[in-house]
């Protein structure tokens, strides 16, 4: 009896201290932050090597336990997220399709220091009357430079958006932004595919009365679909989502071993970038 009283008292003290600490926000979250990653060689929840480095880094920065588990497929990871059994999962577009009403992408891989998921615009002459992607069949595209960020990624973004790229004529590669705009205006091609930044630079009015691009129309703008992305529940508090982003975008220099795990999980990522919510959406034209 004496032992039971003592146990009750100890429990009460622990509970009181816990309540007091919670009231002052001094306790770390004790429930695990559950991460599911398909295809990175984790068996069950036994994270080893670089996977353990990632789990350890995330645990330290979130100041709460982290469980990092392997899962057989993106679809299975999506199902777990949908069922509330994970806080963050790595998905591909097919897996995301199953949970797009409940989840949102937050981080995707960057393929090189220079090249991310470039915000792309498709521009035509207003007089051409091509105001939808579907009307671009047989278009002659022009790009402003041959680097991936100026050519390959914008063209892929257009293809991901459902533009009829298979019907396009060979791509005309110009040396710079201004030359690409000039090529459109002189009819050397009829579709300008370039970064939003390039469009802004060329179309920026140099005095309040001018509009250097009054003769042009933007048919489409967007980013290529991410091949993989970390996805969290849509109702995750914005601050929690931003904390995860803040931790992960610096992973490649703050915790290179952890980044090595991410590279294996979503090749060929060399770093992570924030994403828009629908980064994994497969778009229809």
């Amino acid at each position: 009896m004496k032992g039971r009283v003592k146990a009750v008292l100890v429990s009460a003290i622990i509970a009181a201290v816990f309540v007091q600490q919670r009231a002052h926000g001094q306790t770390a979250e004790t429930s695990p932050f559950r991460v599911l990653v398909p295809g990175a060689g984790i068996i069950g929840c036994d994270a080893r090597g670089d996977a353990a480095a990632y789990r350890s880094h995330l645990q330290k920065r979130l100041n709460r336990p982290v469980s990092l588990c392997g899962v057989e497929s993106s679809t299975a990871a999506a199902a777990a997220l949908g069922a509330g059994k994970a806080e963050m999962v790595l998905l591909d577009p097919i897996g995301f399709a199953a949970v797009e009403d409940r989840g949102r992408a937050i981080l995707a891989g960057r393929v090189s220091a220079e090249t991310g998921r470039v915000l792309t615009v498709a521009v035509v002459l207003k007089s051409a009357g091509k105001d939808t992607l579907a009307k671009l069949t047989g278009a002659a595209p022009i790009v402003a430079g041959d680097k991936p960020a100026s050519k390959d990624v914008p063209l892929r973004a257009l293809a991901d958006a459902g533009a009829p790229v298979a019907s396009f004529r060979p791509v005309l590669v110009m040396n710079d932004d201004n030359a690409a705009f000039a090529a459109l205006r002189t009819g050397r091609g009829n579709l300008l595919v370039l970064t939003a930044g390039a469009r802004q630079r060329v179309c920026l009015p140099l005095d309040p009365k001018s509009n250097p691009c009054a003769d042009l129309a933007e048919v489409w703008r967007g980013r290529p679909t991410a091949p993989f992305a970390f996805v969290v529940p849509k109702n995750m508090p914005i601050g929690d989502r931003h904390q995860l982003i803040g931790i992960h975008i610096a992973l490649h220099f703050e915790a290179p071993a952890a980044m090595a795990f991410i590279t294996r999980a979503m090749p060929p990522a060399v770093a992570l970038d924030p994403t828009e919510a629908g980064a994994l959406l497969i778009r229809q034209p």
Binding site: D207, H242, I245
Partner: protein, 314 residues
Amino acid sequence: MILLVALLFAGCDNPKEKSDLKGWRKEVGQVRIGANTGEENPTALARLNAYQAYIERSTGLPVKVFEAADYNGIIQALASGQLELATMGPAAYANARAQMGTKVAPILSPRTAEGVSGYYSALVVRADSPYRKLEDLRGKTVGYVDFNSASGYVYPRWALKQQGFDPDRFFGKTAISGGHTQGVLALDNGQFEAVFMVASGGTPQTGFTTSAMHVLAERGIIKIKDFRIIWSAGPIPNSPYVIRTDRPQAFQDTLRGAIAALAYDDPATWVDIGLGEGSDMKPMQPEDYGDIVAIRNAEVSSRRNRTGSGSSRP
């Protein structure tokens, strides 16, 4: 002074006493962001307030944005713990690092859609002047921006020395204009025969699309064709967002994530605060600014040797 007045005023409502804050939020209490004339876009200053609602929503803390008339005001406020975050030029960061050591660190800097995260120092003359190359400015009156400006003082002086020109002897007379736009206006008014200024959105080969000249031209105050760039140096790593590292790690991570996510969460606000369409934030670390720190330290040592006063003026 503006900054100090604003901070004093801010001290009256002591947000740290808000009982509904918990954990690191209670510890931090509020987010105080300092900004002055940016290296890349001087007009971004007034519009930086657009960050407030977004950062408040992310951090759950009241946010105040403070402006200072020059770089030094921001550095002093950061060093004295009156700011959590600040935007400043790389040379101003180098100054802050010299004063604060590891208590300050860069966390982010803008990067273009093409992955470029650097800018240039340009030497500008009036188009109707006879000056076509650097050598033509021997003995002439030239304007710098600010002792803490990378593109308007520290970097071009270093680059000139690398090319065999001693800026203290080569030019006839030099003065501080106080800002990039002020420098261009002073050039336009005939106060200087050339001024140093920031130039970005391109390279010396492609030409530049963002500068104090472009900002003034957009407002209809000057015409771009009335000026000519005759010399440039760079690239210089873009202006960083710097944070006090003695704030809780969770706060630092959340703030870094919030600013980096803005380009994706709210592209309209991103552009409205003066950042380029399709650009984003590159995560930064102190090593990324190692060169500019070394250049700035060498410049300070050189100035002390010249004056022989041992002055601590930056």
